[in-house]
Amino acid sequence: MFDNPRFANRSELLGIAVLALLLLAILPLTLDVFRLNLVAKYLTYSFVAIGLVLCWGCGGVLSLGQGVFFGLGGYCMAMFLKLEASSAANTKIQSTPGIPDFMDWNQITALPFLWQPFHSLTFTIVAILVVPAIFALIVGAAMFKRRVGGVYFAIITQAIAAILTILIVGQQGYTGGINGITDLRTLKGWDIRTDHAKFVLYFVEVACLFACIFAAQFIRRSKLGRILVAMRDKEDRVRFSGYSVANFKTFAFCAAAVFAAVGGALFTLEVGFMSPSFVGIVPSIEMVIYTAVGGRLSILGAVYGTLLVNAAKTSFSESFPQLWLLGLGALFIAVVLAFPNGLAGIWRDHVQPRLSGSGKPGKPWEAIADKTPAE
């Protein structure tokens, strides 16, 4: 009766299977490459949303600066791709051939040393995972060891997002400034701009997404996942049960950061550029809204929430560009007030009982969803 919790129960496995069917078969077969690439772009945000489920939903640590990590991952990838696109042959009209075009425009004559290691793809992939983790570790350790939490932590992460944006925009010669890093062409000689490449990259991304879903599920299923929930409820009791609360919060924050960075790197590959407009306060808050709409306690809910909000964004903002932001704000307020557990909560409370006909909630672990945490 009290064996180790299984990796996933039946309805969770079913949920994962349905998502796999949707992403691997239904969408690729029914959508053209342009639309599929849009889905791919949306899905990159769902990596961030999954991280927020762990960090905010389970652990109660609300970060309003996940764009920072999305950006760090994205910029690492963009630096590699930009260097490859800036070969001496491609840039021979510049006054300094062999460096990215925006550096040349800013009178920089040699590749900055921070850029040097990004000639290596291996280094780039490691950096995508490690740089955000270290950054989150520093921020997390500095904040959580000093017992900064709740609203204060959210505000500080937001400030960090603003600071990083200003830094990127200000250091135009090193970062590409407000335009970001654009005109990315090939990955190890393979043109990423073709329809075929976009199709292949979509499947690479879905594979990465499932790796993230499994990692998040593993964390949540472990005792660590239960400690995160416990911390959200009674931080002091966890502390006086012999755990270092700061370490656990830092871990959740780092995990969320790494997930976000993977999403950012894939975004750069899918969309072909990276800019500060994905780093700042607004995109960071939008990412929190995706999680809230999907259900901040549900990993799969976060994926669906991201897809739906973005699909709505694309279709509405095409017809009513001014109204969209108001609509997004209204959606967030509606979710917080009426459906604190988002789509996943609606599914669990209203759809699933009717499907199974028994009227009892199908997922015992989601009993935790009944109570609304403070953050």
Binding site: I219, D236, R237, A367
Partner: protein, 251 residues
Amino acid sequence: MQIGHLQKDFLLSVEGLTVSFDGFKAVNNLSFYVDEDEIRVIIGPNGAGKTTVLDLICGKTKASSGSIQFRGKELTKLKENQIVQAGIGRKFQTPSIYDDLTVFENLEISYPRGRSVFGALTFNRDKAVRERVEEVAEMVFLADRLAMTADLLSHGQKQWLEIGMLLIQDPDLLMLDEPVAGMSVSERVKTAELLNRIIKGRSVLVIEHDMKFVEDIAHKVTVLHQGQVLAEGSMNAVKTNPKVIEVYLGH
């Protein structure tokens, strides 16, 4: 030589402990000693600093000056979780449990293994854990509630659950802050019986107002008044102490 020998024998030595909140000394130059396997009850009027003393020992509040030695370790320099790992368990006044987790999971989290981040990630709920959780649940009258969400327990059951969470840690010093407060009469009787069973083989520091309960369990009583020790000794000696009658027990 004599003093050094004495200090080594005490499980807990509190010496010259002072804490001031904006100039108000909630605990003022307080000293007391707790022996191995001793049950010490702290009584005193409201605002005497009883809960603050427990807060200081478990690290929730930092002392302004003074020392707290536990088995030769200076606790004032340790973090809360290190103090727990040194062998001190603390029960709070209001039941402090994880409402969203089941009774089993509440107890499991307190099981003293896998307390690091990596340890928690790879924690395996093996037979030893299950048996210990079931054993403790039996002791705190919650054996048939293991699968229940803790939120749904009654107030008394929540108190028992928290006591169980401390038991599973197997601390050398157990600190209980008003363990029977807010309980029904029958729950009170059961709790006294429970405490009498679990205090064997460890030292216990209890804050309690229920005099009947104090008489039942105390080896020694410390009376606090305005952050200082007013009297100390057996319950009988304390009960007849005119100063104690004056400020606390009443005429």
